[in-house]
């Protein structure tokens, strides 16, 4: 089964990364095909494994402030900032719809 354009569009929205060309879409198709081999394995009664350290307790430290006050260092790597703020373009504006977006998918 080929992945529908709706799903591809949805993926571009979620990932905020685009399928640059037909090769990108092909790559996904091949990746899915490859992953489908998993279904050959019988996993009845098997619990999913999140971590190889699942039998241990996670380390929890005391809720004490031990570091911080590094605003200056953290801002140094940002390209656009004002005083102690990172500057972002206006939010709440969704990515243009497929028909209006510059994406390879528009023509497929």
């Amino acid at each position: 089964q080929k992945v529908s354009v709706e799903v591809l569009d949805h993926l571009e929205h979620l990932a905020l990364v685009d399928f640059r060309d037909s090769e990108g879409v092909e790559r996904l198709q091949k990746a899915i095909q490859f992953a489908d081999q998993l279904h050959e394995v019988n996993t009845d009664g098997v619990e999913p494994m999140d971590s190889v350290l699942e039998d241990r307790c996670l380390y929890l430290r005391e809720d004490d402030v031990t570091e911080g006050n590094c605003t200056k260092e953290l801002l140094e790597n940002a390209r656009e900032k004002v005083e102690e703020y990172f500057v972002a373009p206006p939010g709440n504006i969704p990515l243009p719809k497929l028909e209006e977006r510059e994406t390879f998918l528009r023509d497929s």
């Binding site: 990108g24 091949k30 279904h39 996993t43 380390y59 590094c70």
Partner: protein, 526 residues
């Protein structure tokens, strides 16, 4: 003293006795880095800070107060570890110009032990790849391409063309680190290992590559690929040196909650002479399709070596081995999709000029910053994490992961101490041949023998074994029980002593008769 014990008995001794100074060592390494620039192993060379660190080390030696074996030792770090004040790029446009505000814990530990940080080494972009060919700074060349051993075996081309088209890859993704250690520009290097990224280039470059147990060494400051599998890797010229590095790096880190809280005691490796109590497992599924007959023969010879020395050598089965790569493919892309979400241009790294909206700025930044490999994995990962696919792919892969991990548990429970397997399917491929297949295909092929250890979180090590018919290094892999690095390394060291892997003969490298930069050569194994 053991021939192999490079850092402890050769270099450290020379430094303590004043036969060589830290600044001399540092300068020699820096000069060598310059003369081996064509290898493209380094992305950033931190010359000034390295010399300063060397001077400080020298002061300590003069006062008779060195910090330990690593004091004054030049080391290199893969460019996906944060290093304060030094650019950290992950070989990606996304992080070009990014100056880390902090040191990764492992980097800090090395510096606290007095090590001299020479620079950051090249890799595949964001550690995604098995060739060290897909970074924005270009591919890394395997130093063995320029060795006498390889050139002797090469079919001579017409006199006009030099070895340019013939050079072989380092393997990856920690290729820069492996090349740096292999070409003597540093004494040890840090890599990372998620699917084999330390062991694979170690095998191709003829160096020791250790993947520690997941949870033993802190990942704080290692830019993550797959949080549940990543580990910092150690690359050295001998097993003893790997133990020294491990000793300085392992242990709980409050900044990395996935490090275990058990006390870690650094150890020196015993010189094993009696292997009769050892049980070596040979997993039959590692006789994978595509395994070269040469490596198969070496593997078999190694098994015989243990048998003839009195060890118990048994064939074992890890039935889900062949699904490890598929499982990895799903889990890796899923975790990558999540991990790469932090790169949006706002706080650090590349930022697009697009200003229309936050989302379009993010999209443009990521379009400009990531290469095809990274973007491909992000998109695949997002696909597997879609609501309609989550159970079918992601959770399914997590179940298969448990089966893979259980395979190992069963085998170790049956009395096997250490597993012996090949590390790679063949020796290093020429670059022109390697790039004919795409990154995902190559990774799927090359990670087959190394990936399962990451899936199960087990420690594993590549030990250089012999030269192939083409004159290139071939290594074998030992996989140990969780947190049993001492046993694993002890066995590896015994094996290393038996095989006496030859020293690389690089015409461009001037030899040093006091043996400080290399080890003695003896009869080889193959």
């Amino acid at each position: 003293a053991a021939l192999n014990d490079g850092l402890r008995s050769q270099v450290s001794a020379a430094l303590k006795e004043g036969r060589v100074t830290p600044t001399e060592l540092c300068q020699r390494c820096l000069a060598l880095i310059k003369s081996t620039k064509f290898l493209n192993a380094y992305i950033t060379v931190a010359e000034e800070t390295a010399l300063k660190q060397a001077e400080e080390s020298e002061e300590r030696y003069k006062r008779g107060q060195p910090l330990g074996i690593l004091d004054g030792i030049p080391i290199a770090v893969k460019d996906n570890f944060n290093t304060a004040g030094i650019e950290t790029t992950c070989a990606s446009n996304m992080l070009k110009g990014y100056i880390s505000p902090y040191n990764a814990t492992v980097v800090q530990k090395l510096l606290d032990h007095g090590a001299v940080l020479l620079g950051k080494t090249n890799l595949d972009e964001f550690a995604m790849g098995s060739g060290s060919t897909d970074g924005v700074f270009g591919p890394v060349r395997n130093p063995w391409s320029y060795s006498k051993q390889y050139k002797e075996k090469s079919v001579p081309k017409s006199h006009s063309e030099d070895e340019e088209p013939n050079w072989v890859i380092t393997g990856g993704s920690s290729g820069g680190s492996a090349a740096a250690v292999s070409s003597f520009t540093c004494f040890a290097a840090l890599g990372s290992d998620t699917g084999g990224s330390t062991r694979n280039p170690a095998a191709h470059c003829g160096v020791v590559g250790l993947k520690p147990t997941y949870g033993l060494i802190s990942r704080h400051g290692l830019i993550p690929l797959v949080n549940s599998m990543d580990v910092p890797g150690i690359l050295t010229r001998c097993v003893d040196d790997a133990a020294v590095l491990l000793g300085s790096l392992a242990g709980h880190d409050p900044k990395d909650s996935t490090t275990i809280q058990d006390d870690f005691k650094p150890f020196e490796l015993p010189n094993l002479t009696d292997v009769s109590k050892l049980s070596i497992g040979i997993p039959k599924e590692y006789h994978a399709p595509g395994l070269s007959s040469e490596i198969l023969a070496l593997w078999s010879k190694a098994a015989d070596l243990f048998k003839n020395a009195g060890a118990k050598v048994v064939e074992v089965s890890l039935p889900h081995t062949r699904y490890s790569i598929v499982c990895y493919h799903v889990l890796c892309t899923a975790e990558v999709a999540s991990n790469m979400a932090r790169f949006d241009g706002l706080e650090y790294g590349h930022r697009s000029d697009m200003k229309d909206s936050t989302e379009s700025m993010y999209a443009a930044t990521r379009r400009e910053g990531f290469n095809d490999v990274v973007r491909g994995r992000i998109l695949s990962g997002n696909y597997f994490l879609l609501k309609q696919n989550y159970e079918k792919y992601f959770v399914k892969a997590q179940k298969v992961r448990r089966l893979i991990a259980n395979d190992f548990v069963k085998v170790f429970r049956s009395g096997v101490d250490v597993l012996l397997t090949p590390t790679t399917l063949s020796d290093a491929a020429p670059y022109t041949e390697f790039i004919q297949e795409d990154n995902r295909t190559r990774s799927a092929q090359d990670d087959i023998l190394t990936q399962a250890a990451n899936m199960a979180g087990l420690p594993a090590i590549n030990v250089p074994t012999a030269l192939s018919e083409r004159g290139l290094p071939v290594g074998l892999q030992f996989i140990g029980r969780s947190f049993q690095e001492k046993q694993l390394l002890t066995v590896a060291k015994w094996f290393e002593k038996q095989v006496q892997f030859p020293v690389i003969q690089l015409e461009e490298i001037k030899r040093h008769d006091n043996g400080v930069l290399q080890h003695q050569k003896s009869a080889s194994f193959s």
